[in-house]
């Protein structure tokens, strides 16, 4: 679940861990910059938190290595400019290297 993955990343940031966050596959939709809170659209009650707002807090939590997959962007017909937080788009072989250089990988 995106929300809980994001919360884990924020926690890692709050504890000063050196980390990168990688948005792969469907997770890329979490960064779509046109997301709106339900209350902006219709009623005046939030049905859920605005996921993008929380995502935008990543840099304040000290997380500035943000990556996504160029291959997945192509699959989804997405442009990098449509995403918030200006992630770095990597090709699969670069992502493979990023993963193998990590001490630990947590997936959500």
């Amino acid at each position: 679940m995106g929300r809980e993955g994001l919360e884990a990343a924020l926690a890692a940031g709050a504890f000063d861990q050196n980390m990168a966050i990688l948005f792969l596959g469907e997770a890329i939709w979490q960064l779509l910059s046109t997301q709106q809170t339900a209350s902006n659209v219709a009623s005046d009650h939030h049905s859920q938190k605005n996921h993008l707002k929380m995502t935008n807090a990543l840099p304040l939590f000290g997380i500035d290595q943000i990556y996504t997959s160029q291959d997945d962007l192509n699959d989804f017909s997405l442009q990098l400019e449509e995403l918030a937080l200006s992630p770095t788009a990597l090709w699969p072989s670069e992502l493979t290297a990023l993963m193998s250089n990590a001490k630990t990988i947590l997936s959500f």
Binding site: E4, E7, A8, A11, A12, Q17, I105, L106, F108
Partner: protein, 131 residues
């Protein structure tokens, strides 16, 4: 080696549940002489320690099996407090704090924060996620 297992999968997830995989992996690593630094139950994984779960007869009772493993080996087991609260897995004090009738957290696992996951990831030699 020092392992931490992160369990995201509930005992009855919509798609393939890896709870049993995680349980069997935990048992095997202990048998092989390795150590579990911590079990961290996150997301739907919190349902593995729901004391109210009723397993159909003839099937493996996963909450009971986790409970037995945790108690027999005095394993440090943490259920994420926020993931648990959202899904109605609470201990008695959290139930009281949120004005709910009663707790349903099985056994001696701790309800605690994500700091426990981050600490475990930093400390353990191996972190294996079961999603």
């Amino acid at each position: 080696m020092l392992f931490t297992l992160v369990i995201h999968s509930g005992p009855y997830s919509q798609t393939s549940s890896t709870s049993l995989n995680a349980l069997n992996f935990a048992k095997a690593l202990l048998k092989e002489g390795h150590t579990i630094h911590r079990l961290f139950f996150y997301g739907d994984g919190v349902f593995n320690l729901n004391a109210q779960m009723v397993t159909p007869q003839g099937e493996i009772d996963l909450p009971k099996a986790w409970h037995t493993l945790i108690e027999d080996h005095s394993i440090d087991s943490v259920v994420c407090i926020a993931a648990g609260a959202r899904r109605g897995v609470l201990n008695d004090s959290e139930a009281k704090r949120h004005q709910k009738d009663s707790g349903n957290l099985l056994g001696s696992s701790d309800l605690s924060g994500l700091g426990q996951l981050i600490e475990a990831a930093a400390t353990s030699e191996r972190v294996i996620t079961f999603g």
